[in-house]
């Protein structure tokens, strides 16, 4: 299942003309600091959704003092409605791996991990074969392309836990623990895998870097908005004729996306997956970008026939089950939000209690230990706020 529209970056035909191996060759000829500078100047931000500037992350890890450093590719794509990394790993794994090697070179790490979600295990054999091939071609292992740089990549599988997509929980999982997120600070760039500086980036982030190196930071900045450079892969599902993965420039409006995927009678769009925001029709002119609607790539479309409370209940059930369970706001807070939805469903909930739960949600956003609990109230708050009339007029 390829990318459905004409892509600027992830276009295999174009890439083959440029020969991606040349990207790696070029990167390894640069100095590590120049490489980081190039990534910084491109304005590339983390494609997982949080949008931390990639170059800054690499610079921090590069500055950290340690005998060992690690590069981790976060392929634990678990956000409901997201599947673009599946496509990247299936069809652009060369770019992903090259990006990891470049990161390793930049921060002076010699080891990389791909943390592949257990649900994508069927991709494993293909990826392993590709890694073998890279070894044969001296694109991995000792003295890569005679650059004097050693780097190896190991693929580790997840075992079905959404929270492991959170970088510190992912690292805990890599270390053989329960996927419980860590306190921050310290951050992984200083104290990551086994206590060593570690860069954790999303699959798409790594896959984008080789293009930036090849075409230059300046080229990259010509696409996108002021604070959101380049393009973004989005995974579109729900009520539309053409669901799938699309590459769109940052700044694209919801309306334009809906046109692109041939959606009709749309009532609401969930941007950013279960932990994202539910955008009602009146706001469809809003733009996909870190400044406005930030997303790791999930776009879920709901048409007029859908019951927003049912959708919200599905999301909250998801979080109640997928919370790692260690911190109070997330573990119990999500239960309370779900109970609230169930009360509304039963026609047994005062609107004032929902307001109370929205306030609880705001505390969860502030006081939860990691991104899961900090964002799990988002659908509750946005759906209960934007669709209050619909939800309460029916019950």
């Amino acid at each position: 299942m390829p990318i459905k529209n004409k892509s600027v970056i992830f276009d295999r035909e174009n890439l083959n003309k440029e020969n991606p191996k040349e990207f790696l060759y070029k990167a390894l000829k640069m100095s590590p600091s120049d490489l980081i500078l190039e990534v910084r100047e491109s304005g590339l931000k983390g494609r997982g959704g949080a949008g931390f500037p990639t170059g800054t992350k690499w610079m921090l890890a590069s500055a950290a003092v340690s005998d060992k450093k690690f590069v981790v590719c976060n392929a634990d794509e678990g956000e409901p409605g997201t599947f673009k990394d599946r496509v990247l790993l299936d069809e652009f794994s060369d770019l992903v791996f090259y990006g990891m090697i470049m990161c390793g070179y930049a921060i002076r790490a010699n080891k990389g991990f791909v943390y592949l979600r257990g649900e994508y295990r069927y991709l494993l054999d293909k990826l392993l074969k590709y890694l073998d091939k890279m070894h044969e071609e001296n694109l991995l292992g000792k003295n890569i392309l005679n650059s004097g740089f050693d780097f190896d990549i190991e693929i580790r599988l997840g075992s079905g836990a959404y929270v492991c997509g959170e970088e510190s929980a992912l690292i805990e999982s890599l270390e053989g623990h329960r996927g419980e997120s860590r306190n921050r600070p310290p951050f992984p760039v200083n104290t990551g895998y086994m206590g060593h500086p570690t860069v954790v980036n999303n699959v798409e982030t790594f896959a984008t870097v080789p293009i930036i190196i090849s075409r230059g930071a300046e080229w990259f900045t010509t696409v996108g908005t002021l604070n959101s450079k380049g393009t973004k892969l989005i995974s579109v599902s729900g009520d539309c004729k053409e669901p799938g993965v699309y590459e769109v420039p940052f700044g694209i409006s919801i309306n334009d996306i809906l046109k692109l995927v041939k959606a009709e009678n749309t009532k609401a769009v969930q941007v950013g997956g279960a932990s994202g925001h539910c955008v009602p029709k009146e706001q469809f002119d809003r733009a996909l970008s870190f400044e406005d609607l930030s997303t790791g790539g999930s776009i879920m479309i709901f048409n007029e026939s859908r019951d927003m409370l049912h959708i919200l209940k599905n999301f909250m059930e998801f979080f109640v089950e997928e919370s790692c369970g260690q911190c109070t706001p997330c573990r119990i807070g999500n239960i309370k939000l779900l109970e609230g939805v169930e009360k509304v469903e039963a026609g047994d909930c005062a609107l004032s209690y929902i307001k109370e739960l929205i306030e609880l949600g705001k505390s969860m956003q502030l006081a939860s230990k990691c991104g899961l609990g900090q964002s799990s109230p988002n659908p509750f708050i946005s759906i209960m706020t934007n669709f209050e009339n619909e939800i309460f007029s029916q019950r």
Binding site: G78, E79, P80, E119, Y122, L157, G176, F315
Partner: protein, 157 residues
């Protein structure tokens, strides 16, 4: 005191230790292998793994119960995991639930008497554009319809 005699599992675990090392970071890969081969990680296996990695059995148990794909109880030979998340839900998950339960004669969370099938839910498996979707063991099936289910199950009976 229970004396541990030579045992096939002990042998298997020591081979896995040989492959992945005896650090704590080897725990998940070892558990995944044991799970894949036996369908679950038995009480004995958990203790042997703990012993080999010099951690406590309860820590192994804590890890197993954290991850959806690891289990400590014997289940059916084929584990069917149907995505319960919203895109698959909107695409008609409920009809698939009913079909699976009727065809196998069990409810979700249960295992058939002949220990061939277990029914479970899974949270989003990244097939949102092709829902409803499910996995049987590691194989993925998409755009399910009640009719398709009957055909798929035939191949696993």
């Amino acid at each position: 005191m229970i004396e541990i005699k030579d045992n096939i599992l002990t042998q298997e675990i020591s081979e896995l230790i040989g492959k992945y090392g005896n650090g704590r970071e080897a725990l998940l890969p070892i558990l995944q292998q044991i799970q894949a081969k036996h369908g679950y990680v038995s009480e004995f296996a958990q203790q042997e793994i703990a012993n080999a990695l010099d951690i406590h059995p309860v820590e192994v148990y804590g890890v197993i119960t954290f991850y959806s794909f690891l289990g400590n109880k014997k289940k059916g030979r084929h584990i069917i995991r149907l995505c319960r998340t919203i895109s698959c839900d909107l695409a008609g998950k409920d009809a698939i639930i009913r079909t699976l339960e009727r065809e196998l004669g069990i409810k979700f969370g249960e295992t058939t008497k002949d220990e061939k099938f277990s029914l479970e839910f899974i949270n989003c498996m990244g097939m949102c554009d092709q829902g409803p979707a499910m996995m049987i063991n590691e194989q993925v099936f998409t755009q399910l319809t009640p009719h398709k289910i009957v055909d798929i199950l035939k191949n696993f009976r």
